[in-house]
């Protein structure tokens, strides 16, 4: 049995897990990320929502209830975590625009506006109101994008359809990375007589070089071009995941891919390792400290059974705000379902409450009381709490 030794082992490769690991790796600590597979970040719009409950996210955070996990993190940490994120993804060739001081909108595939904060540069030109006219380019056979939704809400929009020969977001994105395809597409676009203020695309404009592709089209068409996030699988989500993954690897972190944690090894109040049953790879990964960033229900950090809710890695106590009858409100759209408050409660050092383990820290959407949909605080909360958890973890390791 091979045994690998790390200072810190992070469970989960989403935005929280990768950001926490990078933070520690930069401090020259030996870090591993252990993941059972692709994170839910790949399903996301890629945009970093910080807090959508107002125009100014930082002020909105201060109005969140005191039990909200954002309130565990001081404003300076939030600000620096988000600034650092922007520097990181810029360096990885995936620039994000916007500022933590102010929210902005992105146009959705339904024609509505989603409030977000830091957005990929490919969504920079997304209209902030209904007045600008749009020309939407879509692709024959694309299942999850219907310009009719947007056009019916904006009287000043038109669309045209390009037959790319493929019809999934993944294959379209791959095609846009090919020179021949892209040149042929540009020739077609030139003939479309586009007179509208802006050109909109479903978010399929490449995977590695989306920023350049958008820029090229924009220069050629002589008007701003932007992407509209699609339903999963989402290319902007995947780009974000790739950029964070690359950053961690560049900083010397290891990623154990397809490594579902099935158990732990512990001595007294200290976790010593996480283990897996899989063959052909090390059966256990030793660490001095552990960061739980395994996500919530979709990510797989928490599981609901008919008899209760469990945290799957360390079996930490789960904060459940009420009986099963209260987990789901009668009104689907209330955004107030009790289930959104379920999670792991943490203290200001991002240690889980109610456990005797000394060396676990927790961050991201698994945190209790987050109500991510209601508060519009997905990736922003992940980045801020990852930074706080990593800081506490580094302090613990330095002792």
């Amino acid at each position: 049995m091979r045994v690998n030794e790390y200072d810190a082992v992070v469970i989960g490769a989403g935005v929280a897990g990768l950001a926490a690991a990078s933070f520690l790796a930069e401090k020259k600590l030996k870090v591993a990320v252990v993941t059972k597979g692709e994170p839910t970040a790949c399903l996301s719009t890629g945009a970093v929502d910080v807090c959508s409950q107002g125009d100014e996210p930082l002020a909105a955070i201060q109005k969140l209830p005191p039990e909200h996990p954002f309130r565990l993190v001081d404003e300076e940490t939030i600000r620096s975590a988000l600034n650092k994120f922007q520097q990181t993804v810029n360096a990885a060739g995936l620039p994000y625009i916007g500022s933590v001081e102010k929210n902005r909108f992105i146009l959705t595939a339904l024609g509505t506006f989603k409030t977000s904060c830091l957005v990929p540069v490919t969504m920079e030109a997304s209209p902030q109101n209904a007045s600008e006219s749009l020309h939407i380019v879509t692709f024959r056979g694309l299942k999850d994008f219907y310009p009719g939704y947007i056009i019916s809400r904006r009287k000043n929009a038109k669309f045209s359809v390009y037959d790319a020969g493929v019809s999934t977001t993944m294959s379209l994105a791959a095609h846009f990375e090919e020179k021949n395809f892209f040149e042929k597409f540009l020739l077609w676009l030139e003939k479309q007589n586009i007179y509208q203020d802006k050109i909109a695309f479903p978010a399929v404009l490449g995977l590695e070089s989306a920023a350049e592709i958008v820029k090229t089209i924009s220069i050629l068409a002589g008007r701003p071009v932007f992407e509209i996030p699609t339903l999963p699988p989402s290319m902007p989500g995947r780009r974000l995941f790739n950029a964070l993954k690359k950053t961690l690897r560049d900083n010397g972190g290891d990623i154990y891919w397809s490594w579902p944690v099935t158990g732990i090894e512990a001595a007294e109040a200290t976790i010593e390792a996480v283990t897996t049953r899989s063959d052909g790879r090390p059966a256990s990964i030793n660490g001095k400290a552990f960061i739980l960033a395994a996500g919530s229900f979709i990510g797989g950090g928490l599981t609901v059974t008919r008899h209760g809710i469990q945290e799957n890695i360390f079996h930490l106590p789960v904060h459940i705000p009420g009986s099963r009858e209260t987990w789901f409100d009668d009104n689907y759209f209330s955004m107030n379902h009790g289930i959104g408050r379920v999670g792991i409660a943490a203290d200001a050092a991002m240690r889980p409450i109610g456990t005797s383990w000394k060396n676990i820290f927790v961050c991201g959407s698994i945190l209790a009381e987050a109500q991510i949909l209601k508060n519009g605080c997905g990736h922003g909360l992940a980045l801020a709490t990852a930074s706080a958890a990593a800081k506490s973890c580094a302090e613990y390791l330095a002792r």
Binding site: T115, G141, Y149, S234, R306, M335
Partner: protein, 503 residues
Amino acid sequence: MIKTDVIIIGGGATGCGIARDLALRGIPHCLIEKGDFAAGATGACHGLLHSGGRYVVTDPVAARECYEENLILRKIGQKCVEQTGGLFVRLPGDSRRFREIFLRRCDEAGIPAEVISASKALELVPNLNPRIEEAIKVPDCAIDPFRLCMLNIRTSELNDALILTRHKVTEIIKSHGRCVGVKALDQTTAETREIRANVIINATGAWADTIAALAGCHVSLTPVKGSLVITNHRLTNMVINRLRHPSDGDIIVPNEAVCLAGTTSIPIEDPDKTSTDFQEVETIIGEAAKMIPHFDDTRIIRAFSGVRPLLKSVKTDSHEISRGFQIIDHQNGLFSIVGGKLTTFRLMAEKMVDRVMNVFNLKRPCTTAEIPLDGQEDLSGYPLSRRLEDLKNIVCECELVTRQQVKKIIRQTGTKNVGDIQHRTRLGMGPCQGGFCTFRALGIMNDMNVISPEESMNILRGFLQRRYKGIRQVLWGDQLREEQLVEYIYLGVLAMEKPNARE
């Protein structure tokens, strides 16, 4: 104003069956349904074509009717019946005396019943509880109630009958004390139509008293709620019944790729206000798991309730109320047909139309038991080779529904309702319960320019709320994960709750 001979109110199995019978006997008619076909008890049942075994001990007459109709439907409706066969399984502790009565009564009613050993039963259905004592094999079948209604109504359509779905009867017009017509509100356009006829048939199931009241009449009913759950897998290829007195959660029926299990039996007040509660779901899973243990950890994709329009009875246990049916002549041109079961819908229609023939003084025999259902030739399966060709155009991955199919339904019916597409194609009936494909189906409507932005948002809202009602009692495990993803897509990625920001 439209004139016809007979008005049928209600588009469930009974109403559609009456329409077909009238069509085959050459009587002009009009069917009015307030929602879509099979929207009431018809669409909210097990989809079990009874062998009669279930009722043979408590109601031998109904049981015999069931078996006779079972034979007829297998013959005339091959494309909506799956001849699965059924087992009545006896678990340790279940009454042996009940078994003896069951076998004797089956013999008396002429229902084939073969006792087989536990090991033979396990060969037939490997998922069965290995601890069963024995099983009795009966000719139960699975039936698709939506398809059944569509095929019945097809005959009427071919005979130019007027079929009005999404029309609500708001008034029964009377003249000199007789019912001479109805006013029906088109729920899509809000226009009212007036239709006149000599005979009006109230086939509205649990709503029979509400409709009868429009004519100043009364129908005594005990509306009884029955709840069911749907699994994500087909856990058995045969219908599984518990060999005991009819009780909660004693039937599991395979249907296409899934199984339905239930039911419960709870008398209720208002058929429009039904919901399934957590305890019912627990009961059904608990009981079903006694017969198929795997039920306990299988993924449940939906729970729903239907309302049986049972005849009023003094018996207190609603499982014991007769499943027989009754035709009430209100002596003013209005008839109500109540009670009965899905399995006996054709017989009910035959008896009803016999009465109508008396009114018209005509002697044309019923032929619905001999002539195969119309339109079955269009249902010739979906071979793998064609599925693979269509792969790019599949908009509902769970149930393999193509873009072309959706477009065809929209063109044919002019529908603005996702439910109509669902009933006709199975779109949205799989594990995601329409989470992905409804956005697509509505997107196609949007691109075809048949709905306005307000309509599209309202339809989406209405759909998501209804969908949620069906799944909130079964949210755990993977179904909860799927639900959270769907919620994230609509409320997060698509921001549908903030449609008016900065507009």
